[in-house]
Every structure is written in structure tokens, then in C-alpha cells.
């Protein structure tokens, strides 16, 4: 089937070319980082994880959200999603690949990364995260490819694939739960030390992932002969709506506990993010934008009229993606580290090389996504789905 990726329109090659170029530029900056160290980033001893790990966290969510398509289709026999299940699975493949790349570029000594297997340490959550992420990557490539192959030959997917598909459902939940556990079990970080971290991660994932998938479906419909379907997009929109509302609800649950208890260890981080401490408040406008717009979007999404209009739906999905990204891709990491354990404030902002490396990884992810979607869509066009 891979040959489908090799034959395409000029526009397809053009897109691949641009993505490859961005990746190439990012890679050059990464070579620089390898040589001179992570000092070329905006990180430091106080904020020791930043943009890379934040993107990783966000994309784990995007990857996990494939389950929102797979589960209704395979567990509830919701046939409509059969049409787009492959798009969800291939999005997961691209997202997890980006996750792996982001973790790799964040390593101080990437040449020693196999130490994680050589000296396997089950008491480290990171060990489990690597296991579940790679497992999820393999599961989705394997399932997606086989289902598509079967579809192409107009036969039902092989029976032995079913256990793998069922396994992929709890596995999707596990990747984001384990990723939340990376943060939620650390004794000295008040912002992260909350049992609602994993549920919040899942709710924002199930909002952002299907929102991205909705946009991708609209793009696929506009630029190819394959229509993912009106009903499919509307069902995705309902998932986005519920997940966004739950995400906002979870946020306010957290806010209540933190501010009614008035425990400084927990409150200071929120104060930094939403008010600023000692004149440091670089993230304040972003955080307010994120929560205000996310809440407004959740309310607007409830309106069937706005949801059914695909233009307003696309705009709302875009806002869900942006606001959840600010929450998880900017606020979560920095908010956890500021103030530091000695209650001092050192702010963080990514540097230009760091941003270029980040863009490079995103470009690689979208390159993989483009190729996989090209294969999937070509097969769908071939069988005139």
C-alpha cells in the first residue's frame, strides 16, 4: 500500500517538501543543541522542563484521542465511524512519533537513551511511559495498516486483529494516565500534586484530539475525493463538546480546592499563572485567554446551530485546539516549576533555536501524517468509499 504515498499531485509533493524543509531547519538547530548542550533553550535549573516536554504532553493527548473514534466503532458498533477510524489511528501514529521525538530532543544525553532498557527501572513512571507510548505506536500502525489493507481488498479485517483492537482502547487511556502520573506523583510540586491531573489530561485530550480530527476531516473532504462524512463530523463535534465542558469543569474543581483550602504550596502556582508574582507574569494574558475562551467555546459548542454549521464548527474546534494547547503546552510545565521549591521566581520562555527544533518535530509529525493520510485516502478513493 505504501506505493500510494509515492504517487501524488504537485500539491502533495509541495506540502511534503515544505514540511521536510522545516524539519531540516529544525534538525540543523538540533545538531547545534547536541554540540553545545540544552543551554541553547530557555530552560534552567529552576524551570528544567519546558517547551519540548510540554509538546510531548499535549501530543500524548492527541494520540490518546484516537480511542474516541475506535471505541464507538468497535465496542458500540457505531458503523459511521468505520469510515474515519483509520484517520484517528493514523493521527495517533503521527502524534506518538512526535512524542517520542520530543522526549528525545529533551534528553541531555540522547546517546545513552537505551539505558532506559538496559537498566530497566519499574519504579520510575518514565519507564512505564516509554513502554506504553511505544506499545501504543506499534498497536496503531499494526491495526491501522491491517484494517486498511482489508478494506482495500474488500474483505473484513482478520479475526485475530480483534484482540489487538480491544487492547488498544484501554491502552489509549493508559498513555495519557501514565503521562499525567509523571507529574502528579512528585511531592514538592504543588501545581501538579493533584489527583485530577490524569482526568484533566484525558478530558483535554478528548477535546483537542477530536477537534483536530474534525479539522483534518474537513481538509480531507476539501482536497480529496474522499468525504469522511457529515454524520461522522457531527458525531466528532458532540465528543468535542462534551469533552471541552468536562475539561472546563475539572479546571474549576481544581481552582476550588486550591483557593478554598488556601494552602500556599498549591496556590502560588495559580497566582503566578493568572496574576503574576513579584512582577513576573509573562504567562498571565495567555492563561486568561485560555480559560476564558475555552469556557466560552464550551458554551457555544452546546448550541446545535453553531455545531451543525461546519464553518462555525471549524472555528470552535480551532479555539479548542489553541486554548487546550496554551493550558497544557505552555501553562502546565512552567506553572509547575514557578515558583521553584525555594519559592523563588525564575521565568521561562522558549528561545529561537528551541522554537525551531520544536517546529522541526511538528513538521516531521505532519510529514508522517500527510503520508499516512495520503495512503488512507488513496485507498478510500480507489474503492470509492
Amino acid at each position: 500500500m505504501l506505493e500510494k504515498a509515492l504517487i501524488g499531485s504537485k500539491r502533495y509533493y509541495g506540502l511534503l517538501g515544505i514540511l521536510a524543509l522545516i524539519f531540516g531547519v529544525g534538525f540543523l538547530f538540533y545538531l547545534q543543541q547536541l554540540k553545545t548542550g540544552l543551554g541553547i533553550t530557555g530552560l534552567g535549573r529552576d524551570v528544567s522542563w519546558g517547551f519540548y516536554i510540554a509538546q510531548f504532553t499535549y501530543l500524548v493527548g492527541v494520540a490518546a484521542s484516537a480511542v474516541m473514534v475506535v471505541l464507538p466503532y468497535y465496542l458500540h458498533n457505531y458503523k459511521a465511524f468505520g469510515r474515519i477510524a483509520i484517520l484517528g489511528e493514523f493521527l495517533a501514529v503521527a502524534a506518538v512519533t512526535m512524542c517520542v521525538l520530543f522526549v528525545t530532543v529533551d534528553m541531555g544525553r540522547p546517546d545513552r537513551i537505551l539505558n532506559v532498557f538496559k537498566y530497566a527501572t519499574p519504579n520510575s513512571v518514565m519507564f512505564w511511559d516509554i513502554i506504553v507510548l511505544n506499545g501504543y505506536l506499534l498497536l496503531n500502525i499494526f491495526i491501522g495498516w491491517n484494517v486498511l489493507e482489508a478494506e482495500r481488498h474488500d474483505v473484513p479485517p482478520p479475526k485475530w486483529l480483534k484482540p489487538f483492537i480491544y487492547l488498544s482502547i484501554p491502552w489509549a487511556v493508559s498513555i495519557h494516565t501514565v503521562t499525567a502520573f509523571l507529574y502528579a506523583g512528585l511531592p514538592g510540586r504543588g501545581y501538579w500534586l493533584t489527583a485530577i491531573m490524569a482526568p484533566r489530561f484525558l478530558s483535554s485530550a478528548f477535546a483537542a484530539g477530536p477537534a483536530l480530527l474534525t479539522l483534518l476531516c474537513l481538509i480531507v473532504r476539501n482536497y480529496t475525493k474522499f468525504d469522511p462524512g457529515k454524520e461522522q463530523i457531527q458525531s466528532l463535534a458532540k465528543i468535542v463538546t462534551y469533552a471541552t465542558i468536562i475539561n472546563v469543569f475539572f479546571f474549576f474543581c481544581e481552582v476550588f480546592t486550591v483557593f478554598y483550602s488556601q494552602i500556599p504550596d498549591h496556590m502560588l502556582h495559580f497566582k503566578y499563572l493568572f496574576q503574576g508574582i513579584e512582577g513576573h507574569g509573562r504567562l498571565v494574558p495567555f492563561m486568561w485567554f485560555s480559560i476564558v475562551v475555552m469556557t466560552a467555546t464550551a458554551i457555544l459548542l452546546v448550541s446545535p446551530k453553531l455545531r451543525r454549521n461546519e464553518t462555525t464548527l471549524a472555528a470552535l474546534c480551532g479555539l479548542v485546539i489553541i486554548t487546550t494547547w496554551i493550558d497544557k503546552g505552555l501553562g502546565l510545565m512552567t506553572g509547575g516549576f514557578v515558583p521553584n521549591p525555594l519559592e523563588k521566581v525564575t521565568e521561562y520562555w522558549p528561545t529561537a533555536p528551541e522554537t525551531m527544533i520544536t517546529l522541526g518535530v511538528w513538521a516531521m509529525g505532519f510529514l508522517i501524517l500527510t503520508i499516512l493520510y495520503k495512503v488512507a485516502v488513496s485507498v478510500k478513493e480507489e474503492i470509492k468509499a
Binding site: T36, G39, G188
Partner: protein, 270 residues
Amino acid sequence: MSISRREFLRLAGLSTIIGLGGKTAFDLLFPGELEAQLLAAPGALTAKRWAMVVDMRKLDEATAKKCVEACHRIHNVPNFAQPNNPQDALPPELIVRREVKWIWTDHYHNAFPGQEQEHGQERLNSLPFLVLCNHCDNPPCVRVCPTKATFRRADGIVMMDMHRCIGCRYCMAGCPFGARSFNWRDPRPFIKEVNQSYPTREIGVVEKCTFCTERLAVGLMPACVEASKGALVFGDLSDPKSKVREQLRTQFTIRRKAHLGTNPQVYYIV
């Protein structure tokens, strides 16, 4: 065909990467020899549980500074504010961000956040609290490390294997005391005089105080203790006759963030 031990180790390493079986093979061939051996040499200082007491009554600014300098000099800790070559000078903001420190002084409200009170602590506010790795009994850094590059020794010292560390910095997120430093850049241009008997570090690994394991091994007290004129007391917590136990018996001591359950082993007499 003869094969040197070095060559064998190399092959074992490679086969581990390929088959993840090298370690098992090595364990079968040379049981127990793979991990570094911890046999104390004659004359070494040993303990069942090392611990430190910081007596703030005896610690003035100058002495505290001497402790920090002694440690950082012996362990080749870079000073980013003082480059060997003026061309390498860093802006103040980067000096803060890239700082590497094993032991340093801080204000009471920074060392003991949440324990400050408005009145009655005026004396404490001006004291230079020496802070360092607490060598916790229940260390979160060891719990989170994915490669056991940081580990707890039988004598309680939390150690770093800088040759195993992958630089993921999970331990830095895990430590509630900010005791860990990462090598964001090559530290060597910022080490005034390299102590040849202690390794300098490369970029990309985490480091911290080790209670001077290398000095204990040859019968010397930790560098900071030696420089402290008696303000720092170091000894075996499991020995009721030790100096640390005597201090704990006779003085009221506090520990940093004891409520987090990491069980820090640096005690403060205030």
C-alpha cells in the same frame, strides 16, 4: 583467540543493546561483578547511616562562604559568573539559569518555606542557611530516575552515576529542595583551577552533593564539614555515641519540608 576484559565488556554492552541479554550473560559468567563493588578500603570512614547537623548558632556568613567554596573547588563545580576567558562572560540572567551548585546559602524563608512567621524570627531572617542535598531516606529523585543513575547507597548517601545519567531531568522535577543541577553547557571554561583528582562533567548530565563519598573513602570528612569550624557536624546516625546523635539528643532540630515524607537527613539547629 584471546579476548581482553575490556573487549569482553564492550561486546557485552553491544549484545545488551541488541538482545537486552548482555547483562544476564554477564551475571552468569561473572556473578555479582557487573555492578560497582562497594568494599571499603582500610582507613575509610564508614557508617550505617550518614547524617549532618547544621548548627546555625555557629555559622556566620564568612564560614558559610568557606564551606561553599571548599566544596565547589574540590568538586570542580563551575562558577558561571567568573569565566576563565572574558569572552565567555554570560549575561546575569544566564548565570542564574545555568547555575550549578552543590551547597549554597539561602534565606530562612527560602530554605524553610511555609515555616516563616511574621514576628519573633527576626534573628533567623539574617542567617545564612546552608542548604544542600538532604540525602533523604525516602528520596523521590531515586524513585523517579528511569536508569538508576541516581541511587541510594547502603550507608544512606544518595549518589549520582554521571556516566549512566541520560539527562532526562526527572530527578530535578522530583527533588523538593532544588538540590540538583544540570549541565546546560560545558562547565570547563568556568572552572578556575581543575582539581585533577575529581572528574569534571560533560554537558547533559545532572549532578549534586554526594556527602563527599570520595573523601569518606580515604578517611576524610566532607569538605564543607572540614571548612565549617565545627558548625557542621557529620556522623553515623545509627551510632548512639556519634556526634550527630549527641547533637540531636541535646538540641532541638528542624528539617526542611519534613512533612513531604522524604525523611531528609540534614538537621538544622536554629
